[in-house]
Every structure is written in structure tokens, then in C-alpha cells.
């Protein structure tokens, strides 16, 4: 055919005024994800208020009470209220994911910014250092850390955090490098803006959208990763309510008393799914604006 079709066919490009319609531009599913995620955040914060029982103590109803008869989700083999445990488990998953992401963004952001803004051998050295951590096998490291320090949530988070930040360092570094060659940085230099101020005010904010998108998509990943580590026994020791561990220790009861392993498993699934949808939504949102 005689027409090589150009990349942007809208003709109007990406007009500014399109920003107003960005909420409606986002898919219904993504908006649902954001809604579920909002709900989850409320649950995470308010779990102690919402949970009908203490998550680690037995309730009167006894063990293996099916859902509906004693508590919304029944009780587990140790007479504990499954709903309360799931609520607390969501809280733990959620906050853990946020802690890992926050630390990743912080450490990775600083290293990425210094590397990207400085360039030269500093950049090379920092990025090789980052690669070193990227090469670490995450689960093995997690097992090693837990073996060395004992099983506890902070240790698991430490191990996951160690393998998580390099991604943010790379993203921030890449975005900062991309910003660094843009005219506004030259303009700032000509305006007499110092090196540090330039990095923080004229380079770093350019990395925010990419970091936000990555972070929001990472939440789902982290929920799954932490649940998996907890599932194989690398989380808080019992009786802490952790979704992965709850599912793992409920496995023997899968056929006879399915709610015990399934309730936490479904919670993990919903959490990760909603987080991924919300991540997609946030990406759409930021991509239409920028």
C-alpha cells in the first residue's frame, strides 16, 4: 500500500484538554481495582476495629466451625475466628508491601538520582553495584536471611527489600538520565541553579510518574511474593495472622474444611488482582497526563 501510516493518527496528538476525561478514559475494571484497593487500605488501617475477635486467641464457638455458624468465615483448627485472621492478614500483607516499596523507592531513588545526575564513573560504579544486587536470587536470599536471623516479618522484609530496591534505582537513574539531556535542565543551569538543586528540582520529579507506575504495579507482586515466602514458612512465626502462612497451615483441611486455607488464599488473590488493576489504572492515568 502506498501509505505508511504515521504513529499518531489522531491528528490532534495528546491535547492538554484530554486530561479532564482521564478518569472516564480509564477502564471500568481499573476503576474497580482502585475501588477495591481503597477498600483494602481502609481494612488495613481499621483491621483492629473491624475484626470481631482477636486474631490469635480461640473463640468460644470451638474449632472447625463452618462459615456462617460461628463468625462470617468460620473458625480454624485452633478455634480462631478466620475472618479476624484474614482481616489482620490483609493488614500485614498490605503494610509489608508498602514498607518494601517505600524502602525500595527511598534507597533506589537516592542511588538512582545520584547516579543519573552525576553521570561518569560515579554512575557506572553505582549501577554495577545495583546490578550486583539484581543478580541475587530473591528467594534464596530470603531463605538465607531468615536462616541467619530467624524467621520474622522484619527479616523477610529485609531480605525482600534487598532485592527490591535495585529496580527503583534503575528506573530513577534511567528517567533522570533521560531528563538530563532535556533543554529545561540546560535552562536551569544557565539560570544559575546549583548541581544539587538541579538534581532535586529539575531532574528527580521527572522520575516520579515512572516510579509511581512501577510502585503501583509492584504492590500486587509484593503481596504475592510475601505471601509465597510466608507460605513456605519465611514469614512471621505463628500465631501471627499472615495470609500465606494461614493458607499453608490450612492445606491439610482443604477438602474437609475448605474455608480454612481458601479464605486467606482468596484474600491474597483479590488483593494482588486489585493491586494489579489499580496499577494499570494509575499507569493509564499518568500516561494520559504526561
Amino acid at each position: 500500500m502506498a501509505i505508511a501510516e504515521p504513529v499518531v493518527l489522531g491528528g490532534v496528538g495528546r491535547p492538554r484538554w484530554a486530561a479532564a476525561s482521564r478518569w472516564s478514559g480509564m477502564g471500568r475494571v481499573e476503576r474497580g481495582g482502585i475501588a477495591i484497593l481503597g477498600l483494602t487500605t481502609v481494612i488495613a488501617v481499621a483491621a483492629p476495629l473491624l475484626a470481631p475477635h482477636a486474631p490469635t486467641l480461640p473463640v468460644h464457638a470451638g474449632s472447625f466451625v463452618s462459615p456462617g455458624r460461628g463468625g462470617l468465615l468460620g473458625t480454624d483448627d485452633l478455634s480462631r475466628d478466620v475472618l479476624s485472621r484474614v482481616l489482620y492478614g490483609i493488614r500485614a500483607s498490605w503494610l509489608s508491601a508498602l514498607v518494601v516499596i517505600a524502602s525500595g523507592v527511598l534507597i533506589g531513588g537516592v542511588i538512582g538520582l545520584v547516579a543519573g545526575a552525576t553521570g561518569g564513573w560515579v554512575d557506572s560504579a553505582l549501577m554495577r553495584f545495583t546490578d550486583l544486587f539484581l543478580a541475587l536470587p530473591g528467594p534464596v536470599l530470603a531463605i538465607a536471611v531468615v536462616a541467619a536471623l530467624g524467621p520474622s516479618l522484619p527479616h523477610t522484609l529485609l531480605a525482600v527489600g534487598i532485592v527490591w530496591w535495585p529496580w527503583y534505582a534503575r528506573i530513577v537513574r534511567g528517567e533522570v538520565r533521560a531528563q538530563a539531556v532535556r533543554p529545561h535542565v540546560d535552562a536551569a543551569r544557565l539560570a544559575g541553579v546549583g548541581r544539587t538543586r538541579r538534581a532535586v528540582r529539575h531532574l528527580l520529579p521527572g522520575a516520579v510518574p515512572a516510579v509511581l507506575v512501577t510502585a503501583s504495579l509492584d504492590v500486587g507482586n509484593l503481596v504475592l511474593t510475601l505471601a509465597a515466602l510466608s507460605f513456605i514458612g519465611l514469614g512471621s512465626p505463628p500465631p501471627s495472622p499472615e495470609l500465606g502462612a494461614m493458607a499453608a497451615r490450612g492445606m491439610p483441611y482443604l477438602l474437609g474444611h475448605p474455608w480454612i486455607p481458601l479464605a486467606p488464599a482468596v484474600a491474597v488473590f483479590v488483593l494482588a488482582f486489585a493491586a494489579n488493576l489499580a496499577g494499570d489504572g494509575i499507569r493509564d492515568l499518568l500516561e494520559t497526563t504526561s
Binding site: M1, A2, V8, R16, H184, A187, A191
Partner: protein
């Protein structure tokens, strides 16, 4: 509504036009009404120049003719290409019609060419065989077509890539080629060649061309007929010479008036259009041009004027006042007072570049970009540095302001503040997440102005460039292109520099905006006594702004002298080529 267009060409050639638009309207999501009822015919073998500012709907019109408007858009009316209605037909029918009847050339060939395929194969896909492809490349005047066919797009220059695109567009002998700003990104000499090529192709093959451009002069060079779009509507249609000579629409007249000509009088500001182009989400209820029109009367705001027979030429014009005979008058156009007497160029130089050299590249090969260059800008003086892309003018500028370090030679700056630079892309030079106020504040801070005095200084600077003080609270994204350009100039002059460099500040701007910016620079230079180094590829702009013009070729200056002398009596061969290539309204 049916409008029968009676242009000379259309009338003489055939009844069956190649392209026939009737009441075409295109609306994008978010209420962006890009086209609002446009009717137009393109006759076989005719070149129609479609002219308008950005946002006028000209590009969308070209895409609609090809049936390539994004599927999210809502279309109404008809757009008949041959016997296929590109509005109503399905995607497959549209594709077939395109394949049979149409070709397209876009502004940036890099986005249309596949970077992983040789250009020969890409042309062959359209032409059918490699031999046919080579023949097409030859017809598009690609030198050494056989060798070039084996190369990849990135190995070709911008001009050659555009020729490859043209070769693809004319494969299969299309009835219509849509060329959307095909020369805007090219140097003037290359632009002239491409225009000649298109014109010759039309003569050889009787292909019709819909030539979309923002530049009246470029359209005048090539088109049989000019179509002026404004606010998604037809403003004026007519034979090129008639429209340029006797414009019946005030907007056409204004465009002509603000167009920089090689003979524009220096020291006298260009006429400019007040106001901004309409927001395509909220068109005024009446004539789209009425808010900027000096001739508008009450009724203009109430009713959208339909195109009717033009009083002074054989075309159509959509203006209530067209019949009043006053539209051609330019008296209502906005003209600044003459610049206050520019400070005479001082003896001590504001900038002296001595033996400047700079090369770029890797270990594999270094390319000398600036080669032993000497240039001097006197205190308060203005020098234009003219050259084609790749001649090293931007690198020279960057070294002059201290953004790059020369490999050899010295940069001497006169006394006064830090030199400033106005970037080619003003939008990109403003940090998108900071407000204009913050950007200006930073500069004041760096110059040691105490915090409490800065807001007043910022407001002053914004006032100086004609922006309201509340602009300080805006982010660049919330400003129009013209406002961004002003804001970036405001930052440069908030602390008046002894020396201001401008890197092609108007090349990305529409005609009316370019005039405004040139006027602004001229006034600021006079008021603040700045020395100016003005880099441009546009000799007319160079002459208008600068006292002296330096012509650069391959990293060195080949001709330097008083502006008028250089333009009227160019000595160097390259200068002569540049002068000859300037498209003018009179050249048709």
C-alpha cells in the same frame, strides 16, 4: 448544504473530482471539534495548499481524506476519495481505496518508515518489486537509487528520507497524494528541492496533491489553489495568486501581513494578530475569527458565516464583512510602536569567540562540528548566525553561553550578568512540574536577589514580555505555545543579561506567533540594551532581527557582514543558495 467550488483549475479539468468533501465534521473524545463542516473538492492534477495555524484542523482534514482518523473520533458528512466515502466505509474498504487511489507524505518520515527494513524493501512493498522500487526512488530524485535502496532509514538525511516517503507515496500512480507539512522539518534549500520535486511529479503524472502547511509562502510556491482553514472551518478558498493578492478574509490578510519577508522593514515591528487561536473544545458561537478580528461587528459573534462567493476573486470566503470592501485593510492589525532607538553597538564586545573548535564522537570516529570559528558580538549589538542543520550553529551557541566546553579556542564574555539562552523549543526549556514563578524565582535567587523583592521582579519581567502577573502561578503545561515562549524569554531577562542568545526561537511557531516573538525580542533588546546572538536558518528573520549576519557552513563562518548587504548582495555561493531558496509569496 452543497457548495459548488468554482476555481479555475477545478472548472477546467473535470467534473469528477479526485477528492470531494461535503460538510465534513470530526469530533474527538473530550469534545474537541477539530473540523466543523468543511466542503472542498480537489480536481485531478490539482495542487491544493491547505493553510492554517496549529489547531485549525488542517491535519485532521488530510487524515480524514485518507480515512485514517483515529477510530475514537466521531465523523459526519462525506469524504469521497474516488468513489469511496471514507467516512461511511468500513476499515477494509477504506484500506482498499487508499491502496488504489492515495499516497501520503508526513512531516517526520522517521515515524512512518520502519527502522529495521532497508528503504528499498519498504518502497518495494508499495511498488511490487525491487526494480520498481529503484525506479520510484529515481523518480523521487534519490541520487544513486540502487545504493540507497540497500540502506536503512537512519543512514539517510532528512531530505532523502522525505524523498523515500514520496517514492512510496507515488507508487502505483495514486490519484491523490496528501502531503502534511512535508518540508517543515527541512532546511530551506532542501525544502525548495522537495517543493520542486512535488511540483514536477504532478506535471509528470497528473497526480493531485493536497498540500497541508502552516506557511503561506510555502503554499504559494506550489499550490494552484489556496484553502485557508480557521477554527475547523473554511475561511477562504481561491486561486493562489488571487488569494495572496486580494485576500477577502481578514484572517488571510493578517497572515500575509505578519509574514516576515526578506524586505520587511528593520526596526519597525511586524504587524501581529492579537489574541490566541480558538480552543477547539469551545469554539465561539459565531465566526471563529471574530474574537481576534478588528473588523468584527455584533452580528459576527452571533452567527457562523457560511462560505459565499468572494467579492474580489473567483473563490469563496466565509466572512460577513467580506463584501464591505474593508477586509483587505490592515489598519486594524496590532502594531507595536517602533522600537525605541536601539543602543548603538558599543566598541567593547559582549561576546568574542576566538578560534573555537569542537568535535563530537566516540573512539571510532570524531566529527569536527565547529572548526576554528571566529565571531564577535558587540555590546548591545545583534548578530544573526545563519546556516542549515548540522552546520554547527547550535553547538557554537551552546559554547558561547557556557553549556558546552570548546576543545580549542576561547569564549570571552563582556561584563554583566550570566549570558542567557532562549531555546528553540520554549516548552521543553521550562521544567514542566515547576510554575513559571518558581522558574523565574530560581534565576533571581541565583543572582542574589533577596526573597522579598523577588515577586515584584517576577511580575515586572512577565509584564515586560506581555504576560499577566498570574502567569507566575501557572505551570508550562497550562500555557499556550506563545505564552511559553514569552515565559522563557521572561526568565532570560528577569535579570537583564548583557548577552542573550536565541536558538531558532521562531522556527517551531505559527506565523502570527513568530511575528510577536520577533517583535518582543527587538523591543527587549532596545529597552534592556542586550547584545543578541540569534541563530536561525531563516535569512529573512536574521535580517529583521540582526545588524550583522554571519553565514555558517561546515563549522566555520563563510560570510559575515551587515545584514542588508549579505541579503541583497551575497558573496559566498552558499549564501546565494540560501537567499534563493527563501520561499516568497510572489514566487508563484
Amino acid at each position: 448544504m452543497t457548495v459548488v467550488l468554482q476555481s479555475d483549475v477545478a472548472a477546467t479539468t473535470a467534473h469528477s473530482s479526485v477528492l470531494c468533501l461535503r460538510d465534513l465534521a470530526v469530533t474527538f473524545p473530550g469534545g474537541v471539534r477539530a473540523l466543523r463542516g468543511v466542503s472542498l473538492d480537489v480536481a485531478p492534477g490539482e495542487i491544493v495548499g491547505l493553510v492554517g495555524e496549529s489547531g485549525s484542523g488542517k491535519t485532521v482534514l488530510g487524515l480524514a481524506a485518507l480515512g485514517l482518523v483515529a477510530p475514537t473520533a466521531t465523523l459526519s458528512g462525506t469524504a469521497r476519495l474516488g468513489d469511496t466515502d471514507m467516512v461511511a466505509a468500513g476499515a477494509e474498504q477504506r484500506r482498499l481505496a487508499r491502496r488504489r487511489l492515495a499516497g501520503a507524505v508526513f512531516q517526520d518520515p522517521m515515524t512512518s518508515l520502519n527502522p529495521t527494513m532497508t528503504v528499498g524493501r519498504q518502497v518495494a512493498e508499495a511498488a511490487g518489486s525491487m526494480d520498481a522500487a529503484v525506479e520510484l526512488l529515481e523518480r523521487a530524485r534519490v541520487p544513486e537509487p540502487r545504493r540507497r535502496a540497500r540502506q536503512y532509514p537512519h543512514q539517510l538525511s532528512g531530505g532523502l528520507r522525505q524523498r523515500v516517503m514520496i517514492a512510496m507515496a507515488i507508487a502505483g500512480g495514486p490519484a491523490l497524494v496528501v502531503a502534511d507539512e512535508p518540508t517543515t522539518a527541512l532546511d530551506v534549500t532542501v525544502q525548495a528541492e522537495i517543493l520542486r520535486l512535488l511540483s514536477d511529479l504532478r506535471a509528470e503524472t497528473a497526480t493531485s496533491i493536497l498540500f497541508v502547511t502552516h506557511d503561506l509562502a510555502v503554499a504559494a510556491t506550489i499550490a494552484d489553489r489556496i484553502v485557508v482553514l480557521y477554527g475547523g472551518r473554511l475561511a477562504e478558498v481561491g486561486p493562489t495568486e488571487a488569494v495572496l493578492g486580494n485576500p477577502d478574509h481578514p484572517y488571510t490578510a493578517a497572515l500575509l501581513a505578519s509574514r516576515l519577508q526578506p524586505d520587511s522593514v528593520r526596526g519597525r515591528p511586524l504587524a501581529t494578530l492579537p489574541g490566541e487561536p480558538p480552543d477547539p473544545r469551545a469554539h465561539p458561537p459565531g465566526c471563529p475569527f471574530a474574537p481576534r478580528c478588528g473588523l468584527a461587528e455584533g452580528a459576527c459573534d452571533a452567527e457562523v458565516p457560511e462560505p459565499t462567493a468572494a467579492p474580489r476573486h473567483s473563490g469563496l470566503v466565509a466572512c460577513r464583512r467580506a463584501g464591505d470592501g474593508g477586509t483587505a485593510g490592515r489598519g486594524w492589525l496590532h502594531t507595536d510602536d517602533a522600537f525605541p532607538g536601539a543602543a548603538p553597538a558599543g566598541r567593547s564586545p559582549a561576546l568574542r569567540l576566538c578560534g573555537l573548535s569542537k568535535s563530537f564522537g566516540s573512539r571510532r570516529g570524531r566529527r569536527l562540528v565547529v572548526d576554528d570559528l571566529f565571531l564577535q558580538v558587540p555590546e548591545g549589538g545583534a548578530v544573526a548566525l545563519v546556516g542549515e542543520s548540522g552546520c554547527g550553529k547550535t553547538t557554537t551557541l551552546r559554547m558561547a553561553v557556557g553549556l558546552d566546553k570548546p576543545d580549542a579556542g576561547t569564549v570571552e564574555l563582556g561584563s554583566g550578568g550570566r549570558p542567557q539562552l532562549v531555546f528553540q523549543d520554549a516548552g521543553a526549556s521550562l521544567t514542566p512540574w515547576l510554575t513559571v514563578g518558581e522558574l523565574l524565582d530560581e534565576r533571581l535567587r541565583a543572582e542574589g536577589v533577596v526573597a522579598r523583592r523577588r515577586p515584584a521582579r517576577i511580575a515586572d519581567a512577565l509584564g515586560l514580555v506581555g504576560l499577566p502577573p498570574e502567569t507566575a502561578r501557572r505551570k508550562p503545561g497550562a500555557l499556550s505555545g506563545g505564552q511559553r515562549q514569552r515565559a522563557s524569554i521572561a526568565r532570560a531577562v528577569v535579570v537583564p543579561p548583557a548577552f542573550l542568545a536565541c536558538d531558532e526561537p521562531i522556527s517551531a511557531l505559527d506565523v502570527s506567533l513568530a511575528a510577536t516573538v520577533l517583535n518582543l525580542l527587538g523591543r527587549l533588546r532596545a529597552e534592556l540594551g542586550m547584545a543578541l546572538l540569534f541563530v536561525t536558518h531563516d535569512l529573512a528573520a536574521a535580517r529583521f532581527v540582526a545588524d550583522r549576519v554571519a553565514v555558517m557552513l561546515d563549522g566555520a563562518i563563510v560570510e559575515e557582514g551587515p545584514a542588508d548587504d549579505v541579503l541583497s548582495a551575497p558573496v559566498h555561493e552558499h549564501t546565494r543558495a540560501l537567499v534563493a531558496a527563501i520561499p516568497t509569496l510572489a514566487s508563484n
